[in-house]
Symmetry: D2
Subunit: 472 residues, 4 copies
């Protein structure tokens, strides 16, 4: 769960990257960073929101016509300041790189690189690993050529397992974009005159006034040299497994990924969910979304079922991640600060809450409690995706959650756990139908069904589990 | 447009005030401040958001069982740092005060106080003026008594014109709350055991776990002494003129003011607006709210008219007021950063945008342009209030706008100006009906009809206009 | 131990005040502050060094042609941020004030003012008390006149006991300077064309290019109105008791106070000390000053005795008050960081250290230990003032030290305590002779002989002692 | 003009490095940095003083038992933040490095490395260049061995011209120290139990409680592996040319370098200077040092000549490099802020000022003017070194000064330029005699006589001159 941007322009790029990072801030609020290239690399990285990391004075030295930016949500490696992307390597040429995804053979590959290639990594970020694999491969393809670049990236695609879409700058050569062989993570290209923008989500391009060109293909590499000439090649042809959770929850509704509108996908999810709801046909006054992500699904569910839609829960915009709460002991009360009920709409009513997913179940439980305290007579709960049961190793922060509430519980038991009067999940069929396209885009649905497109090496799996435990 | 909080507790209050200020941050993002009273006053004020003004270390000295807090949206006086509330006066006793509203005889009263009472004011904040009038009155009622306090406040109510709800702490004596004679601005009291909370909006009380007691009456003063005994008296009895714009736009939807749910009021506004829309009966595919305030009205409009509701515009949560945009020249593009269209929903469709109000018309114009650029075939515009035509002198920041788009234009001309296919305003009857209550709460509707409940002295009006010009 | 500056000019004063405060930073490193007057007061105060408190951006609003500044060394009241001077009162007129000294009847006078005059003080700073006494007196002399001002200051001189030299600004009226009836603390006036500067030490005037006019007389008030006219009057005529410790240790050597050069005074002290040294006539290789204050005395001691002078101890300029020392447990080692021995000069030598004074004896003990560790064969210790035995209530921070090392020890015992081979103190006769002038300036020598020129009320003495205990 | 520290310990080192950097802050106030090694590198660098760059929170992550630190005075490359040392390279192993000195073939060597070895440098710091040469050499000596390390450093000594003493950490291997073949810059080794400290000056070791072991030899490499075993070898044997200016001006008086006490050297310089002074035998009342560096020479000059020594100029401790002076136009006045005259000592007297050197002559001129303004009857000027005439390419910041005042002027002309009554320089014989040792340490005296021990390549000389011009 990260976001990146690469911009190549005929003028200064730092302002665009900054604006773009604000646009994809939802993909990561843990740290932010930017590297621009004038005749040397200029760097600014830090922990926190984009608005807090970058100060006006930073833009005095963030000069150059090429640059990459990144916002991070921690996966492997916690929140060390050094782990902020982008990363820089000085051999060969000088390379800067940022990516979104998760390397599944991180531990074994890193040790191999350190022992065999004497490349030291200084952080626990997999971006630094990808950068070093690429740098090592490229140092065997000297001097620089497009063919050598492709060969180096073939090495990366062969050695690095998992999901990784990203951008890189090679000093004095140009800017590169890449998408892992299975295309798990999104990456989209935009153009405007002789300028190019590459980003995790299409909304960046639109905000910055770039025309959307196309999504990169799985296993594709694209390179723009300093003359503005574009080279691209799909180096490996494997089945596409787009992360389905991006559509359900993670991406912005105003983005389009691999041809599918996120907003439309969510409307479809609500429509499909209506089938399940109708099976139960509960007696409900209002459908109430848990803001912000589930509004679209709740709306189409309302349309399909004829049950009125009301915004019974308000999100407090100003209580962010940086929130400190002095003297406040009970963590549980924070739900009240983040989500405020419109008592008047809930009191004496039978409410059906709609959320995009249930992970641990704790938040759902608190929200239901909150709604009941406002005087709701009944609280039903509908979820626009099926039960989450399997960890994600490809970048959604669900690998560190040893137990999903649904992993060892029946739906009935989950219902009791969160104290809902009814609990209705999306069906797997509904999920697939909601995301069906004419040309049949393939999805990774491992978190629901455990079918992992890229296996995780046993030793790495052991280490992931061991690291996960330390965090708790 | 400001917000205040006063808390009196049997334990430390700074954490509650901080949390409460986050809850009413929407009422003012220009500056924030807090004064607590232990055996002396402890102060922290600054420009910016609550989260930026208060640091963890400030809470080490913000000690005490009584405290008041404030968020400010500048009206008279611009944004000087010194203008942040609350204010402090050391004679008599030591008094801290914060308020919401606007003093209409600011200039004449201030000069009178300075020349006749030798009281120097150091800022251009009307809170400092109210504080000084009160302090001066109270210095004629020594030693302290409840009767003296009432008399002092009678003096304030007599001398200070305009709107002003607020809270104050008198050193070693207790905490006071007050509401101007016409009750233009909201103020509500909450209780929990032996603790009291007073705030601009009920949502503060609910977030902090206080039980809503009641709204203060127009012209009422309430005092809680250091033993926790409560004294209150309505000192003047005048007609209630609650600011109607609080319901339309300014207050949080999850608040209840003078017995009226803000969310319900907005649903009603949409319902009434439906009458006007039906008169025109435009051929429209989707009703699309301009987020965030107009969602409720758009939803009920959709229900009443049967036109589908879609969220075709997304608000970027991370582009706040502190936004800096390096290298970016054209101010106009910022609308694109704040509001992002869901192209897929708009393309090829006939859209009816719903907004709470039109002020200058510039934003409406840009939004319509944005929606058209996404391929909408038609763009209609419905407004949940009547045309704004008259400046507000009571605290809504519309006194500095010399020309509302509708002040000297017919509706047809406004329609052309913002380039809408149809423009539908709420009627005055619809507005009144939407806010009708059994006990007949009175409203200030001056911004629509020019009927000012509290006249502004001629000399002050001249100075307001002169100051306004300087700002442009 | 504080320093103040007041500047009245025909142009902006903030730059001069800033520069001036840097010049008297040695008088207080705890906090710094400035108030300028344009048509209102502009304020910046904070804890820390002048260079850390004032940022370039502060000077954007510190406008005006009159201003006062202050650096503080805490006496009564510890280091609360609110205690930073200058202070501001809004009744009558608006008055800003800063001073140097210490009010001895602080507690009793403050309580009297709060109970009888309903004036609340919010800090534990005696500057706030002086300001409030003055403001209260002035509010009985309305409207403003020079005669009324004198009467008000007569009230201050009558009510406020202790030492207090200072400056004040009265809104729209002008700038005032004052010196307590006994003239314990220094204050000097400078002039340049139509501009005036008033400061604690003459070095400020010289650095800013003002011509030294004269020191204020004890009990004198000086007022410069907005036309630049100067009024002054000695309101009370009492014996002058200049703090003798300013010459021995506290003031800068390049200052001249009440006609006596501080550097010359210190040379004289060394000369007088030579008499005592000759009585003992120790066999010594080098005289080594403890830097920085004792260099002058050590030099003239060397000249008088013929013993060679060597700088055997170096002061580290970069280890300031803000020093943090991570992982470092032993406080004792800090002497090594602040003072570094020139081993080469000390090894195998008989050394006579010269210091300006011995307070608790701990530092002397550590320095002697350090010198011995460098291989010095013998370490003798000469002090340019007599034994300190009595607390100071007039501003030198020695009232919080319940026990001077010499208060209950014989000189022989002190010598053992600090582990010196010989210990030689200045005699009282030598001290007086060193500071003798033709016109016979009177000195406060209470810290040596216990003869206090201004008695401390019993109740206040009890409170001072009680507060002092809390600090330990 | 830089300073470095390397510490290898059995516990955390960050506190020691911090304290040590404070101790050598005089060697560079432009930027400060530290890298420690736990199982990875931890970094903190920034522009400014040590006390401003390092905050308490930085020490939470600056973990590890090995670390290096640096303070920088800019030579080639100006003050870009990225130029702060230490530097880090990730291939091979991961290497951190900091040094003091100046690489004379910087431009040509850098271009060679970039074009032939594809090693990109991102800054204009010669430390990054040394690091990359070393890293490149070491990558040809895989896997790691002491012999390989020596061979790599032989490559460095062969390729890198100029002066460079420094320290480095090789990940998982250990800590290295090195001194350039001619030993131009100082580097000293200390020991305490099983801990080691290496630094630019001995005063660091003494402050931290390390026993001074010995100075490194020219061309020597020393390596401490992770078991604490020490390996060292002098790889090249060339003549020693210690920078003579370190003794005259740059080093701390309490340091000992290559066996010579800096303080003693300065006393000797004063003694030798006395010969020159006696030749002229001016009629002088007082000898007055220009603080701080010339005190020792002035003192021994006073002893030899019998002329009294007086501190007639005071340095203001609080006007540092970060000084901002609002509204102040004339740069010339700053001398008054930094140096304050003791008027009383100078008035009516014949003064002989003593300074360590004259560079451009501007400061000397201003000081003489200042002393004359105080009423001095005559102002003579004695300098403890001979006329500076040739640029330094080895690290003293005198390569950017195209013209020394003495480079094209006779002594008589310099005297007139600075407006001294007499001008007396040290003789070359006196200089050499003052620094004479039994074992005959060799010195670089190029700044006086133009005899450069290490020639600067023509192309580099051209580039240095061209860069120098840009700065003016």
């Amino acid at each position: 769960m990260c976001g990146f941007i690469g911009i190549y322009k005929d003028r200064e790029v730092a302002g665009d990257i900054y604006t773009g990072l604000l646009t994809i801030q939802h993909r990561g609020q843990d740290s932010a960073g930017m590297i621009t290239f004038s005749d040397h690399f200029n760097i600014k990285k830090g922990n926190g929101l984009v608005r807090d990391v970058f100060k006006e004075k930073n833009f005095e030295y963030l000069k150059g016509n090429m640059g990459i930016g990144h916002v991070r949500y921690p996966t492997i490696g916690g929140g060390r300041k050094e782990d902020s992307q982008p990363f820089l390597s000085n051999v060969p040429y000088g390379i800067a790189l940022a990516h979104n995804g998760n390397v599944t053979n991180y531990y074994t590959l890193k040790e191999k690189l350190e022992s065999e290639r004497y490349r030291a990594m200084n952080t626990t970020s997999d971006a630094e690993l990808i950068l070093n694999v690429f740098a090592d491969e490229l140092s065997h393809q000297l001097p620089f050529s497009i063919r050598g670049l492709y060969r180096a990236m073939e090495g990366v695609f062969r050695k690095v397992k998992g999901s990784y879409s990203g951008v890189a700058i090679i000093k004095d050569k140009g800017m590169m974009a890449f998408r892992d062989p299975h295309g798990i993570k999104p990456i989209i290209l935009g153009k405007k005159d002789n300028s190019f923008a590459i980003a995790s989500e299409s909304v960046v391009l639109e905000t910055l006034g770039f025309r959307v060109e196309r999504d990169l293909l799985p296993g594709e590499v694209l390179f723009i040299n300093r003359k503005g000439e574009v080279f691209h090649k799909r180096l490996v042809e494997k089945k596409h497994y787009h992360c389905i959770f991006e559509y359900i929850y993670f991406a912005r509704p105003d983005s389009v990924m691999d041809g599918i509108s996120v907003y439309q996908a969510r409307l479809n999810l609500g429509k499909e969910l209506a089938r399940e709801v109708k099976k139960v046909s509960p007696d409900v006054d209002f459908i109430v979304p848990v803001p912000d992500t589930s509004r679209a699904a709740a709306l189409s569910l309302s349309e399909e079922t004829g049950i009125k839609y009301r915004e019974g829960l308000m999100k407090n915009r100003y209580i962010g991640r940086t929130f400190i709460m002095p003297y406040q002991k009970k963590r549980e009360e924070t739900i009240r600060l983040k989500l405020s009920p419109v008592k008047h709409e809930l009191e004496g009513k039978k409410i059906m809450l709609v959320d995009d997913s249930i992970v641990r179940g704790n938040t759902s439980k608190k929200i239901i409690k909150l709604v009941r305290e406002c005087g709701a007579k009944e609280v039903h709960f509908a979820v626009s995706c099926p039960p989450l049961r399997f960890p994600c190793y490809y970048g959604i922060d669900m690998q560190t959650m040893e137990e999903f509430v649904a992993s060892d519980r029946s739906i009935e038991e989950v219902k009791k756990h969160i104290n809902a009067d009814t609990l209705i999940y999306q069906s797997m069929e509904g999920l697939k139908k909601a995301l069906e396209t004419e040309d049949g885009l393939g999805f990774c649905t491992a978190c629901f069904d455990g079918e992992y497109p890229v296996p995780v090496p046993g030793e790495d799996l052991r280490r992931i589990k061991s690291d996960r435990k330390k965090e708790f």
